[in-house]
Point group: C2
């Protein structure tokens, strides 16, 4: 019997009791509800594409500020993966005959502001930002993808299930924290700081027509935060 997880790609790590039917039933309901929250495809693709571009930009700051050429090289690989996601989302817009620049434009101001306030004060914070925000947002958009029509759901779901380079970021951050243990509490705090703004951006992407009530959204966001907690664990930090 498998605990259904909306957001975790490693459901084996979900640490809820295995035999709790009520909880499992609830997760199934969330999955259904969540697809209903998916905005229409063009809005979904435009927002998701611009967010990936913003995540790519944050990563390029991390490339520029990398302390060694090895770290720079590593971060450039992660940035490349993020750029590939953006380009795959843009390709979906192009396939629908849309001008991606025009479609993304309405989301630029809000997302640019979000990227600014989450940029981080130094290389380490910027790395945590890339890791935490791409983790939360990829989970979020992967789950919403289920509500897209037909083949699009599969293709877009695959985009958000591809390589994310998180293993590389984890290695860089763990080694930095090992060298300088005082980083741990600052980066843990920064991780917490990021969650609020990121969930707000995610919230703003939901279909406006569905007017979701907060009680319905809560379990969905609880799942997002559980996956986030596992990611902070992987850094050896408390969420």
């Amino acid at each position: 019997m498998r605990v259904v997880s909306l957001f975790g790609r490693r459901p084996k790590r979900v640490d809820v009791p295995r035999l709790k039917p009520r909880r499992e039933a609830q997760a199934n309901i969330n999955r259904v509800d969540f697809a209903e929250l998916t905005p229409e495809p063009i809005a979904y693709l435009g927002q998701a594409a611009y967010l990936q571009l913003a995540i790519f930009e944050t990563l390029t700051h991390a490339v520029a500020a990398a302390p060694t050429t090895g770290a720079k090289e590593t971060l450039s690989r992660v940035a490349g993966l993020s750029l590939a996601k953006h380009q795959a989302l843009v390709a979906e817009l192009t396939r629908r005959g849309k001008d991606s620049g025009e479609i993304m434009a309405p989301y630029a101001e809000r997302i640019d502001h979000y990227a600014r306030v989450t940029a981080g004060a130094d290389w380490y914070e910027t790395l945590v930002t890339s890791y935490v925000t791409s983790g939360l947002l990829d989970d979020f958009y992967r789950s919403l993808a289920g509500g897209l029509p037909g083949e699009t759901a599969l293709r877009v779901g695959a985009i958000f299930s591809g390589a994310d380079g998180h293993d590389l970021i984890i290695a860089e951050l763990r080694s930095a924290i090992e060298t300088n243990p005082r980083l741990a509490s600052r980066l843990a705090m920064w991780g917490r700081r990021l969650v609020g703004d990121t969930l707000l951006i995610a919230r703003s992407a939901l279909s406006e027509q569905s007017h979701p009530d907060e009680a319905r959204l809560e379990p969905v966001f609880t799942e997002l935060i559980a996956a986030h907690t596992r990611r902070m664990d992987a850094l050896g930090l408390t969420a």
Copy 2:
């Protein structure tokens, strides 16, 4: 009868008289000499890979500063092409069992300095930098690739013959100059400013063992500048 051009991929645009045997013979001599100037493969790959990373970083500044989401999207595509070149060069180092970060490290300081002084004061200058410096340096490294051993020469030559996104940059810049004709003289001046620093960086990449005398190098650099002139022509600017 085809005029042999070391650097131009569009030899039909070389504006020298077609029937000038002395000139043609000279170009052939240059081709031979140039391969002799190629440093050993690891040094070549390390420098070339780090330079591509620097060009990628310059492009990411252009992504960040783009005036519209459309331009941002376009520039991110060009940045992706440049990153792919960097990654292909890194793959050549990895194939030889080298740690690319370590191999690139000795070149970082000089190239970072070069990237800083050529960064440009605004979006337009940064675009011209990406275009002019990647044009000159790709030509340069493509020509040097002929001196690499065996299959490496072919593979690396192919890396520098791939898509460069210059058509996209040209379209952005031509449209900007059309909208604001006063940009033309400033960008033409900036283009001239870039050539000196870029040729110096190229010069520093040549094999030290070969102690090339300046007289031998001159025709080689003359070809680089001819190709540069054609690129500025494509912008409607004088070199």
